[in-house]
C-alpha cells in the first residue's frame, strides 16, 4: 500500500474510533471525572463493597469459564467422534438466548414451586413449597454460575480456534525428545495458546466485571453494575454513576495490564499452521459416547434456562410440577400474529447484518494495525477500541444520543437521517457494531498473532500487492477468527437490549428484543407470549448459524477453525 494511503487509512480508523467509541463514552465520563464524585465513591462503604463484589464475581466467573471451556476445547481438538459437529454446536446454545428472557426460565427452574423444588418433592426430599429458596438465599453463587454458563462459549470459541492453529509437529517434536504428553502440552502447546486464552479470558473477565443483567435479574444488588444502574434514575442531576464507571474502567485497565504482564509477551508463530489431523484420535463405539459426555453435561447445564423458556411457551400451566401441566400452542398464535413481530424481525436482521459488516471492517482494521503494522499509537488505538466492553450499555446508548445531538447541532441538515428521534437506523447500526467491536478485535488479533507473518512476507517478496496479500493470504489464514467475530457480533446484535431501548424510540424501528421486552410487560399471559417469540428468535438464530455452517461446508463450531 502506498505510504500516504496507509497513513490516510490509519487516520480514518483513528477518527472513527475517536468519533464512534471515545466521544460517546468520553462525553459521559467527563461529567464523572470530578474529584468530588470520585472521592464520594471511595468514601462510601456500600460502593466500595460493590466494586469488591464485582471483582470477585469476575474472577470466579473467568475461572469457571476456563474450567468449562478449556477441557471442552481440548476434547474437541484431541478426539474425533461421530456427531462431533452437533456436539460442538450444542455447547454454543447460550449465544442464542436473550438474557432477560433467560431470567424467566431461571425463575421457573429455581422458584419456590419451580422445577428443582418440585423434583425434590417428587422424590420425597421435602414437602411442596418447603424446598430451599435458591433465588433468595444463594444469589451470589447463582450470579457466578449463570454468568459462567452464559459466557463460556466466547472462551470456548477462541480456545478452539487457537488449538486448531497449533502445529502438531511441535508436540511430535516434544515427544521425540522424550517429553511426556503433559509436558509436551504444557511446554509446547500452552505457550502458543496464550493469545487465545488472553483474548477470551479478558473478554470474559471484563464482561462479567461489568455485567448488569444477571445480578439485576437475580436480585444481587451490592455490585457496581447494579449500583450504576440504580443511579441512572437521577443521572441528569447526579453524575456519580459516571464516576463509578470511570473507576471500573481504571480497574479493568489495571487488570488488563497485569494479565498481559503475567501472560508474557506473545511470540509470533514461526511455522506454518498445521494441516495435519494426526494429533486427533478417533473414538468409535462406546468410546464415542465418552467424547459426547462433557459436551452433553455442559449443554444440559447451560441450556436448561433455554429449555425452560421453550416449555413455558407451550405450557398451559406450570406450577409445583417438574414438567408443564398441559400444553397449548395459543401463545405462538398470540406472539407471531402480533403486528409488531414481522417488522421487528426485518429490523433486527437488517440492523444486525449491517452492524456485523461495519464491525468486521473496523475491527479487522484495528486488529491488523495493532498486530501487524504497529505504527505509533497502535496500542492506544487497540485499547480505546476495547472501551465499549467496560461501559454499561445504557451509558453508551445515552452517549450516542448526545453524539447525534452534537452532530445535528452543527449540521442540522443531517438531522432527518441521523437523529434517533426521527430516523434511528444509522445510529442503531453504529451502536450495535461499536458494542461488539471488542469481540471482533480480540478474535481477529488472536488470529493474526498466531498466523505466521512469514507467509505474508513471502507473498510480498513475490510481488503481491497489499490488497492481494490481504485477500489471498491474511484473510484466509484468519477466516475462523473473523467468523467468530462476525457470528458473535451478529448474535449479540440480534439480542442487544440497551441500545434498542434508548435509540429505537419509534415502534416502526423496534427490533426483536424491544418487542420481547414489550411482550414481557403485558400483564397476565405476557411472559408466556414473550417466551413464545423468544423461542422463535432462538430457533431463527440457531437456524441462521446452521445455514451459515452448511453453506460454508462446516459444522457451526468448526467455523472458527481455519
Amino acid at each position: 500500500m502506498p505510504r500516504a494511503l496507509a497513513w490516510s487509512a490509519y487516520a480514518v480508523v483513528w477518527a472513527l474510533v475517536l468519533g464512534l467509541v471515545v466521544f460517546p463514552i468520553g462525553i459521559m465520563l467527563v461529567a464523572g471525572a470530578s474529584p468530588d464524585y470520585l472521592m464520594e465513591v471511595l468514601r462510601s462503604h456500600v460502593l466500595r463493597q460493590g466494586l469488591l463484589h464485582a471483582f470477585l464475581v469476575a474472577i470466579a466467573t473467568t475461572a469457571l469459564c476456563f474450567a468449562i471451556a478449556g477441557p471442552l476445547a481440548w476434547v474437541g481438538w484431541r478426539y474425533r467422534f461421530r456427531g462431533q459437529g452437533l456436539a460442538e454446536a450444542l455447547v454454543l446454545a447460550p449465544l442464542i438466548l436473550p438474557p432477560f428472557v433467560g431470567a424467566l426460565g431461571i425463575f421457573q427452574i429455581f422458584g419456590t414451586y419451580g422445577v428443582v423444588n418440585s423434583f425434590g418433592t417428587l422424590i420425597g426430599l421435602w414437602a411442596s413449597g418447603a424446598g430451599p429458596d435458591w433465588l433468595g438465599d444463594h444469589r451470589l453463587a447463582l450470579v457466578i454460575v449463570t454468568e459462567a454458563l452464559g459466557l463460556y462459549p466466547i472462551l470456548y470459541l477462541l480456545l478452539a480456534a487457537g488449538m486448531s492453529r497449533l502445529d502438531p509437529s511441535l508436540l511430535e517434536a516434544g515427544a521425540a525428545c522424550g517429553a511426556g504428553p503433559w509436558t509436551a502440552w504444557r511446554r509446547c502447546a500452552l505457550p502458543l495458546l496464550r493469545p487465545a486464552a488472553f483474548a477470551g479470558g479478558s473478554i470474559v473477565f471484563v464482561w462479567s466485571f461489568t455485567e448488569l443483567g444477571t445480578p439485576l435479574m437475580l436480585g444481587y444488588d451490592r455490585i457496581t453494575p447494579v449500583q450504576i444502574y440504580h443511579g441512572l434514575a437521577g443521572l441528569s442531576s447526579n453524575h456519580q454513576p459516571f464516576a463509578l464507571i470511570l473507576i471500573m474502567l481504571a480497574v479493568v485497565a489495571v487488570c488488563f495490564g497485569l494479565a498481559r504482564l503475567l501472560a508474557g509477551r506473545f511470540t509470533q508463530a514461526l511455522v506454518v499452521k498445521g494441516q495435519s489431523q494426526e494429533h486427533s484420535r478417533r473414538l468409535v463405539g462406546a468410546k464415542a459416547l465418552l467424547g459426547w459426555l462433557p459436551y452433553l453435561a455442559v449443554t444440559a447445564a447451560a441450556a436448561t434456562p433455554h429449555l425452560a423458556v421453550v416449555l413455558l411457551s407451550v405450557a398451559r400451566d406450570w406450577y409445583g410440577t417438574v414438567l408443564p401441566d398441559g400444553l397449548t400452542a395459543e401463545r405462538y398464535q398470540d406472539a407471531l400474529s402480533h403486528g409488531m413481530v414481522v417488522p421487528a424481525i426485518i429490523n433486527s436482521l437488517g440492523f444486525s447484518l449491517a452492524a456485523t459488516a461495519l464491525g468486521l471492517v473496523l475491527g479487522f482494521a484495528i486488529a491488523w494495525i495493532s498486530a501487524r503494522w504497529r505504527p505509533p499509537g497502535a496500542k492506544a488505538l487497540d485499547a480505546l477500541a476495547m472501551l465499549p466492553l467496560a461501559v454499561p450499555g445504557l451509558i453508551m446508548a445515552f452517549g450516542f444520543l448526545v453524539l447525534a445531538d452534537r452532530i445535528c447541532h452543527h449540521l442540522p441538515a443531517l438531522r432527518p437521517i441521523l437523529h434517533p428521534e426521527i430516523f434511528p437506523v444509522p445510529l442503531l447500526i453504529i451502536a450495535y457494531a461499536v458494542r461488539r467491536l471488542p469481540h471482533v478485535i480480540r478474535a481477529t488479533h488472536a488470529g493474526l498473532i498466531q498466523a505466521p507473518p512469514a507467509l505474508e512476507e513471502a507473498a510480498a517478496a513475490c510481488g503481491a500487492g497489499f490488497a492481494y496479500r490481504l485477500r489471498r493470504v491474511t484473510v484466509p489464514l484468519i477466516a475462523g477468527s473473523l467468523a467468530a467475530g462476525a457470528i458473535l457480533t451478529f448474535s449479540f446484535s440480534m439480542l442487544e437490549v440497551s441500545d434498542s431501548l434508548i435509540l429505537a424510540q419509534q415502534r416502526a424501528y423496534w427490533p426483536i428484543t424491544r418487542v420481547i421486552y414489550e411482550l414481557v410487560n403485558v400483564l397476565g399471559t405476557g411472559p408466556a407470549i414473550a417466551c413464545a417469540f423468544a423461542t422463535w428468535a432462538m430457533a431463527f438464530l440457531a437456524a441462521a448459524l446452521a445455514a451459515a455452517a452448511a453453506f460454508l461446508g462446516k459444522s457451526p463450531a468448526s467455523l472458527f477453525r481455519e
Binding site: 456427531g83 405462538y332 434508548i502 397476565g524 437456524a543
Partner: protein, 550 residues
C-alpha cells in the same frame, strides 16, 4: 440418505453425489447441479419455515391512510392500554374531527426511564434552540433556578418557561401523580385548557379535584387523572398455608410481622412512582394514628418500612413484577395495584383452577389514586393531543377502562380492568358491562384520608431516603431483622429493636433533610452516604444486641 460419520449432517446419496472432502465435515459436491445436498436444503427450508410462520400468522394492520396525522405519546402503559386507546381514539377522531390519526408510542421504560429521557431531551432541544444559553441548559428544568444566584441560570429558566421548546412528543400518559406534579413544577407539562373548555366535567359530581385528599387533576390544567388505581396487598394462599400463616394479610403492618421473614417482594421506590405512592401510604397511615404526634407516626412508619425490607426476599424495578412473584408462589406477599393483581389472579385461576393470588385493600391504609395524562410543552400536535385527553376523560374513554371484551363501547382485544375517574359513568350500563361492576373506587377511599401536607411535599425525598436507609444497606437490614426475629421478636430484645428503629432525622427536620438530599450533586451525596453509613452502624448494633438478648 446417510449421516456424515463425523459431523452428523445429513447427506444425500445418489449416483451423482460424491464426497470429495470430509476430513471432519460433510462437504458434499455434486456432479449434477440440480441436486442439492441435504444440509443446505434442510437449513434453507428451516429458515424459510421460520420466516414464513410470522408472515402467515400476521394480522396485517390497515396501512396508515394518506394524510394521517401522527400523535406522539410517551408512556409507561403496556401494550393492552396502548392498543385499546389507540384504536378507540382513531375511530373517535375520524368520526368527530374528520381526521385520520396514527399513534407513535414512545416507551423508553418505566416512569424513571421516561423522566430521564424527557429531561435529557428537553435540555438538548433547548440547547439546540438557544445556543447562547446552552451551557446553562441544565437549569431550565430546575424550579430553584428562578432564585439562582447565577443570572444566566435565571434567564435560561425564564426563557424556557416562556418558550414552546418541545421534544417532538405530544403527551405523557400514565405513571402516577407524583411524576406529573414534578414535571408540572419543572415546566415540562403545560395547561391543556380542558378545565375551561369542559367546565361541566370538572365538578364534584363528575371528576372531583381530589379524592380522599389525593389530587385527581391539577387545578392549573397541566395534568388530569385518566383512571384510578388502588394500592393494596397481594398474597399467595398456598405459600401462606405452607408457612403456617392462618390469616391473609389485610394491613400494611401485617407485612412487617416476623412470620414474613424472607417472604416479601418489594419495588424500588427510586424506579417506580407507584412504589413511592405505596410507601407513602404506609407513612400516612402511621401518622394518621398519631395525628397529634406526627414525629412518632413518621418514625413508626419508617420503622415499618424497614421491617418490610427486613422481610424482603427480592426487590424489583417495576411495580407490576411483585404480583408475578406472588402468583408463582416465590414469595408470600407483596404490595401491588389492584388491576395488576386482578390480571394475574384471573389468569392463574383460568389455568390452574385455584386461587394462587388474593388481593386485599388495607382498611384506612389506602385510597384510590389517579393515573394521569398531561400535555407536554412544545407538543407538535397540540390540538390532537388535547383531543386525546378529552377523549380519555369523556364517558366513552372512561368506559373503555373497565368494560368487558365485546360489550358496546368496550375494548376489542384486552380487558383493561382499570377504574374510571368519572363518577357519572358508574351507572346501570356500567353494572351491566363492566368487568368489575361492584368496585367503587370512590368508596374505597372513604376510610382513608390522604394528607398531602404531611408527606406529599416530601415525595421526592421518600425514594432516596428509603434507598439510603433500607435498600443500599439491604444485607444489613436483613441481618439485623433476622437476628431480632431469631431472638424472639422486638419485644424480647427492646434495645436491639430500638437500634433497628433509629432513623436519620425526625419529622420536624424533614424540610431540611429534603433540601440536603435534593441539593445539587455532588453536594447531596455526602448527606445520603451519611444516612446509609448511620443506618449500617445502627443495624450492626441491633444485630449485636439481639444476639446478646438485649
Amino acid at each position: 440418505m446417510a449421516l456424515c460419520a463425523l459431523c452428523a449432517s445429513v447427506v444425500v446419496e445418489c449416483k451423482n453425489v460424491s464426497v470429495v472432502e470430509c476430513e471432519n465435515v460433510s462437504v458434499v459436491a455434486c456432479e449434477d447441479a440440480s441436486v442439492v445436498c441435504m444440509p443446505r436444503l434442510t437449513a434453507v427450508l428451516v429458515l424459510a419455515a421460520l420466516i414464513a410462520a410470522p408472515l402467515a400468522l400476521r394480522v396485517t394492520p390497515p396501512p396508515a391512510p394518506a394524510g394521517a396525522r401522527t400523535l406522539v405519546v410517551v408512556t409507561p402503559h403496556g401494550e393492552h392500554i396502548r392498543h385499546e386507546f389507540g384504536r378507540a381514539f382513531a375511530d373517535w377522531a375520524r368520526e368527530h374531527r374528520g381526521v385520520q390519526v396514527v399513534f407513535d408510542w414512545r416507551t423508553p421504560g418505566g416512569t424513571s426511564d421516561i423522566k430521564r429521557f424527557l429531561i435529557d431531551r428537553y435540555q438538548a432541544h433547548f440547547a439546540l434552540k438557544h445556543r447562547e444559553l446552552a451551557d446553562v441548559a441544565t437549569a431550565i428544568l430546575d424550579p430553584r433556578a428562578s432564585q439562582s444566584e447565577d443570572p444566566r441560570e435565571r434567564q435560561a429558566r425564564e426563557v424556557f418557561l416562556a418558550s414552546e421548546v418541545g421534544v417532538g412528543v405530544d403527551l405523557f400518559f400514565g405513571g402516577g401523580v407524583f411524576p406529573y406534579q414534578e414535571f408540572a413544577d419543572r415546566g415540562m407539562l403545560v395547561d391543556a385548557g380542558l378545565i375551561q373548555a369542559e367546565p361541566d366535567w370538572f365538578t364534584e359530581t363528575v371528576i372531583p379535584q381530589s379524592l380522599s385528599g389525593e389530587t385527581i387533576y391539577d387545578p392549573q390544567g397541566r395534568f388530569y387523572g385518566a383512571c384510578l388505581g388502588v394500592f393494596g396487598i397481594t398474597a399467595s394462599p398456598p405459600r401462606l398455608r405452607q408457612l403456617g400463616i392462618a390469616d391473609l394479610p389485610t394491613q400494611w403492618s401485617d407485612l412487617g410481622e416476623p412470620a414474613y421473614l424472607g417472604q416479601l417482594t418489594l419495588t424500588d421506590p427510586t424506579k417506580s412512582g407507584a412504589a413511592v405512592a405505596a410507601f407513602e401510604r404506609i407513612l400516612q397511615q402511621q401518622m394518621a394514628e398519631h395525628p397529634d404526634d406526627l414525629d412518632r407516626g413518621w418514625r413508626e412508619g419508617l420503622t415499618l418500612i424497614k421491617r418490610l425490607f427486613g422481610n424482603a426476599r427480592s426487590i424489583t424495578d417495576s411495580s407490576s413484577k411483585p404480583a408475578r412473584d406472588v402468583v408463582r408462589g416465590d414469595c408470600a406477599a407483596s404490595m401491588a395495584l389492584d388491576f395488576q393483581a386482578k390480571f394475574e389472579a384471573e389468569i392463574a385461576r383460568e389455568v390452574g383452577g385455584e386461587d394462587r393470588l388474593v388481593f386485599a385493600t388495607p382498611l384506612g391504609g389506602t385510597g384510590a389514586s389517579a393515573d394521569p395524562i398531561g400535555l407536554l410543552r412544545g407538543a407538535p400536535n397540540r390540538d390532537l393531543a388535547v383531543d386525546f385527553i378529552r377523549f380519555v376523560l369523556s364517558p366513552a374513554g372512561q368506559r373503555l377502562w373497565n368494560y368487558r371484551l365485546g360489550t358496546p363501547g368496550g375494548p376489542e382485544r384486552y380487558c383493561l380492568r382499570r377504574l374510571p375517574v368519572r363518577k357519572d359513568v358508574l351507572d346501570a350500563e356500567w353494572k351491566q358491562y363492566a368487568a368489575d361492576p361492584d368496585e367503587d373506587p370512590f368508596a374505597v377511599g372513604a376510610a382513608f384520608t390522604y394528607r398531602g401536607e404531611w408527606t406529599g411535599r416530601y415525595y421526592r425525598l421518600i425514594g432516596p431516603l428509603i434507598k439510603a436507609i433500607a435498600m443500599d444497606c439491604r444485607d444489613e437490614v436483613v441481618a439485623a431483622w433476622s437476628a431480632i426475629v431469631v431472638a424472639g421478636g422486638p419485644e424480647a430484645v427492646p434495645e436491639a429493636y430500638a437500634a433497628f428503629s433509629e432513623i436519620p432525622f425526625p419529622y420536624a427536620e424533614a424540610d431540611a433533610a429534603q433540601q440536603a438530599a435534593l441539593a445539587k450533586s455532588p453536594g447531596n451525596l455526602a448527606t445520603l452516604r451519611a444516612w446509609t453509613d448511620g443506618a449500617i452502624a445502627a443495624y450492626a448494633r441491633a444485630e449485636r444486641l439481639a444476639r446478646e438478648g438485649r
